[in-house]
């Protein structure tokens, strides 16, 4: 094993008394004080998360848009500059290598943010897909007329796209919660904002400067609340963290760790790679069929999108009481027959009852189906429920 990695905010977390946990090879703050208090702060006011462990790739070149249409599941080329889109990196056999967000920075430039634990897998997928992508010669040079003299040497090996892993250059902070807009708007040091805060749309980005250095702001998140994710160069991250905390204090902003992030995303019905999404999961099983543009000409995974009719599908489960089903616990029928398995579960801090996501046989996936959770030998009644469990009131 390689040494654990820390983000540029390690000293800030330590000074705040954070407990750390391993996540995708990184030592990340799991909680600062209480994960419940941090969870509630995000639902009621706002939380500040360090998500610098996430991986960033820049995809550039004349054919960057066409390349991402080939390399990702969604139609990325039709997205206008200024927008962002949730997408998937599929394998040849239709499984999910990672879930990512693609941001169109310019006509010929994209940022793709991937999960920390999948950085290497996404990097190699992009590298092999660049090699499998048609070359500029194939795309641009028409059939040579007989006798025509033409040089092709200048195009050899040129695929019109470059992929660069810039994860070590950037840090990523997230401000999430109903007070997020007021907090970022009050943050000292952010200047030359490209789009006024109130006009920034969900799944869109804006540019600005922080202390004179480039700052990319996206209205995205992983909590089910309004919020922003801020991409800065590593060296600027501590000052931005301080500025956000100080602007946020009167609004109830608290630093929040991965424990709160996990219960927040679970309530919001958002999948977590390694739990709801794996190499063995096809998008349709995970309820992500809408993310796949199956009518695209050619993309990796296209020929293997169909899941078997009896392949397990992702459902939400709710139960009463306080005992939560956890990842790996069985979902069973009244007869005792195993119907599936929980992939994430917790006692929902916001709702006050247990919630879980699970893969079950399609015959048990209909909303309202009564099932049981095998909680360490005790059977707890549960009901198949539509996702998300929690939706914010706008």
């Amino acid at each position: 094993m390689s040494d654990p990695r820390y983000t540029p905010l390690r000293e800030r977390h330590e000074a705040l008394g954070a407990s750390f946990t391993d996540f995708g090879g990184w030592q990340m703050p799991v909680r600062y004080t209480s994960d419940l208090a941090e969870h509630h702060a995000v639902r009621r006011a706002a939380g500040l998360f360090d998500i610098s462990h996430m991986a960033e790739f820049l995809i550039t070149g004349d054919y960057a848009a066409e390349f991402l249409d080939f390399a990702l599941a969604g139609r990325i080329s039709s997205m206008p500059v200024g927008k962002a889109k949730y997408s998937l990196v599929l394998s040849d056999d239709g499984g999910i290598i990672d879930d990512v967000i693609a941001y169109r920075l310019a006509e010929d430039r994209y940022l793709v943010i991937a999960n920390a634990g999948n950085r290497g897998a996404v990097d190699s997928a992009f590298a092999s897909r660049v090699r499998a992508f048609p070359s500029r010669i194939e795309r641009e040079l028409p059939e040579r007329a007989e006798g025509e003299e033409r040089s092709f040497a200048g195009f050899l090996g040129d695929r019109g796209v470059d992929v660069e892993d810039v994860s070590d250059t950037y840090a990523l902070l997230a401000v999430q919660g109903p007070a997020a807009e007021a907090i970022v708007a009050a943050t000292q040091g952010i200047t030359e904002l490209g789009t006024p805060w109130a006009e920034q749309k969900y799944y869109a980005w804006a540019e600005a400067y922080f202390l004179g250095q480039p700052l990319l702001i996206a209205r995205t998140g992983y909590t089910g609340e309004d919020g922003f994710e801020l991409l800065v160069r590593e060296g600027d991250a501590p000052a931005l963290w301080d500025a956000l905390l100080s602007a946020g204090e009167p609004h109830g902003l608290v630093p929040a760790g991965l424990a709160a992030r996990d219960t927040l995303r679970l309530e919001a019905g958002m999948p977590l790679y390694g739990h709801e999404l794996t190499r063995e999961t096809k998008p349709a099983q995970a309820g992500l069929g809408r993310v796949v543009a199956a009518d695209k000409d050619d993309f990796v995974g296209k020929d293997a999108l169909d899941a078997a009719p009896d392949a397990p599908v992702l459902v939400g489960l709710t139960a009463e009481g306080k005992r939560a089903g956890r990842a790996g616990y069985a979902v069973v029928a009244a007869s005792g027959e195993t119907l599936g398995e929980i992939t994430s579960g917790a006692l929902s801090p916001t709702l006050g009852h247990p919630i879980a996501m699970a893969y079950v046989h399609p015959s048990s996936a209909e909303e309202g189906t009564e099932v049981f959770l095998d909680v360490r030998g005790t059977r707890i009644p549960a009901t198949v429920t539509a996702l998300p469990f929690y939706r914010r009131t706008k």
């Binding site: 407990s19 994960d35 419940l36 208090a37 424990a259 996990d262 306080k322 005992r323 917790a346 006692l347």
Partner: protein
Amino acid sequence: MTDLNALHYTDEHEWIAGGGDTVTIGITDYAAEKLGDVVFVELPAVGTEITSGAVVGEIESTKSVGELYAPVSGTVVEINDAVVDDPSLVNAEPFEGGWLIKVSVADGATDGLLDRDAYVALTEG
């Protein structure tokens, strides 16, 4: 405040107070901190005979499940209803209001348990 030096400890992060007929059992601040916010506690019923080393209860946090191991053998004579109603007491006052069960024990039940120094050495190791 509880005199932590007067308690016995186990390597499963329980503390045991008292050395007479009845001992009080809880989990340490270290265990509570590692678990995170405790949201559910299941304790053995009064009258249950427990055997040292056996799993007799569960302590769940938002993130994980911890098992409560009986640190001594004996009979449960009282459980902390307050902590069942409000599991956050385990985090807030692990050595006081967050106690879990009282067990009637035979002489010498706490022999061989860790003292404070040995326990602190364990958690710092």
